[in-house]
Symmetry: C3
Subunit: 267 residues, 3 copies
């Protein structure tokens, strides 16, 4: 049940030798494996952003794919290294919440504390487990080694605090989780949750002092430069501006998004 595909999601950027070294280590163990870059542009140490990238990409790959996530501000400390089997996919990385949004959705998820050093590089540095521990483990998994042979089962992975949508009698309150490259604001409000809340009503959406009161289907449903609400390709409520950048039009900075609430009423 392995595909020979390893995806990479890291905060290593593309100017340092770190990503190249990881790819070399993987190919030295399994020359046949296919390495697919998801992103190396995660903000340094931004576990939340990396978790979102993993959550929103893994399921499109063939089941049995291996997803290597290395955003690891606690490298070399006592944080554990884990391998996870969840939702039909394998995940390898630090136990810092990176895979929590995925494994918490799978009651049958199995989490292995990676302890068998025979699957690591001979010398494991204190500052680069991506190269010395996670990459070789992923490569051995891709070559068919069973995850269970690589360590011991644990049941207390580090949880990642996920902002949940709050539903009151009259309001639904969510948050902006990301601004994408097009300036679109992606929220944590899922389509089915919003539809259930609205019933036959229309929404009154408030965000950063702006009000939007219709849900549209396409960007082109409103004139260029106008804001609109629609469902994103990941199935979440999205605030966009047709042919414009919602974040700029609404005066919202990257840094403040995690404080930004979206409030919805029924009208």
């Amino acid at each position: 049940m392995h595909t020979g595909i390893i995806t990479l999601t890291t905060d290593f950027g593309l100017t340092d030798p770190y990503v190249g070294a990881m790819k070399g280590v993987i190919l030295s163990i399994n020359p046949q494996v296919r390495i697919i870059d998801i992103s190396h542009q995660v903000g340094p140490g931004d576990i939340q952003a990396a978790a979102r990238l993993l959550t929103e990409t893994y399921s499109f790959f063939p089941t049995g794919s291996i997803h290597l996530g290395v955003v690891d501000p606690g490298v070399g400390s006592s944080r554990r290294a884990i391998g996870v089997y969840a939702k039909g996919h394998l995940f390898v990385g630090p136990d810092n919440g990176l895979f929590w949004p995925i494994l918490s959705q799978d009651p049958d998820a199995r989490i292995i504390h990676l302890t068998k050093s025979v699957y690591f590089r001979p010398h494991v540095s204190h500052t680069f487990h991506g190269r010395d521990l996670f990459a070789p483990v992923a490569a051995h998994l891709s070559a068919g080694v069973d995850l269970h042979r690589m360590g011991t089962v644990i049941t207390d992975p580090v949880a990642f605090k996920i902002h949940t949508v709050q539903q009151g009698t009259h309001t639904l309150t969510g948050r902006v989780t990301a601004i994408d490259r097009f300036g679109n604001l992606i929220t944590n409000i899922e389509e089915n949750v919003l539809n259930r809340f609205l019933g036959a009503h229309q929404p009154l959406i408030q965000l950063g002092g702006r009000v939007i009161n219709t849900l549209h289907h396409h960007y082109a449903d409103v004139p260029p430069g106008e804001p609109l609400a629609l469902f994103s390709s990941s199935g979440h409520l999205e605030i966009a501006v047709n042919q414009g950048r919602a974040a700029e039009c609404l005066g919202i900075e990257e840094e403040e998004i995690h404080q930004l609430e979206v409030e919805i009423e029924r009208i």
Copy 2:
């Protein structure tokens, strides 16, 4: 006549999950295909820049390669999705002019309006046809499905306005089409067009108030810091500065390049 190679040219950047999702969709349909990134750094919605990248790279790949181009500001509107067979290669993307510079050069080009949803993902979102329509179509093509089975032939693709070189009695007038990473100014004046215009004469090249009156072969033909004109690797007139950045030396900003004329006289 397919190679198992899919190239990707998008404006999705590398911080969002969009590129990863597309790669996953492709590999889920054809696990054997080879995915080659051309660029994901096209400016958001910059069809012209993406068209240039496609035009200047596709022909170096083996014939039968599949080139996926997703710069799609009109996603979800009534713009058509197309597959194109031209110059021995296959192209998949929105019908917004992206492939026009290539297909307009091939009188035998065939253009298919992609309508057969059996080759799409089961649910096609309104905002991400790259993942839900173009990626699966490209993957099915790479697996050997004939493009003609995927829709209906059309003959009126959206044309892309290409700035052509104007030839007067005494002057040849072209434009700057790009500033590359090295600050070189690439124009739309082709080597053979310029040579035919010049005959046995030397050129007097005027650009942004500067005059250059010799054509050189190598950057190193002039002292460091000096501007020069030569033919670029794509066979176009290029204004460069040896070991410097022509755009900066000549005080030219990225935004103004498409307004920038290059005038050539014979001397």
Copy 3:
């Protein structure tokens, strides 16, 4: 003794067609080869940075891998094109010092001046040897052509000035060679050199007016925000700040790093 792997290290960036064209040329010659991006984000013309990337990544790949390095400010001048066999790997690129740190470590390194145009593209441009000369040579090597058939042996490659560590009676003086994406300062002082110098003593490390007097193992050995010295994953002395950016905390700019000395005394 070839692996079918070609790695790419260039200063071409990801917005121009240059990298895509090179990949196409390679795949047109050897459709089976696997292309692995190390980086295309080397600063334009920064041979030193590219040499560091090559030096710190090549050895992690399977022996017999081919490493294409194209940072080539002298393209089209009389600088030679070379292929190098050293340390069990093959290297292809301009003779400008790019491979010097690797080949100077291997007394048996063989350097071939690439002169056999049968292994180049039919027309070699004056400005893009990456596409027209180096990429096809690498592809032919990956297809099994012997490097010795591609030109003539030379023994005077361009040397790259490597800053060596200066050892005085009481001090060891090195330099910062890079600031990585996390703001860590990587020096040229190797672990075994420092340990030999220190013997049973502790170090007193001075850098940019700051003093650090202990060597630690992990970032987490000091409180968040505190600077520390440790050995980097490449085995060099590194100055870091736990959960912070050493470069910023110490007020060091990217541009000045090559002037920046690190002085170590024994205490």
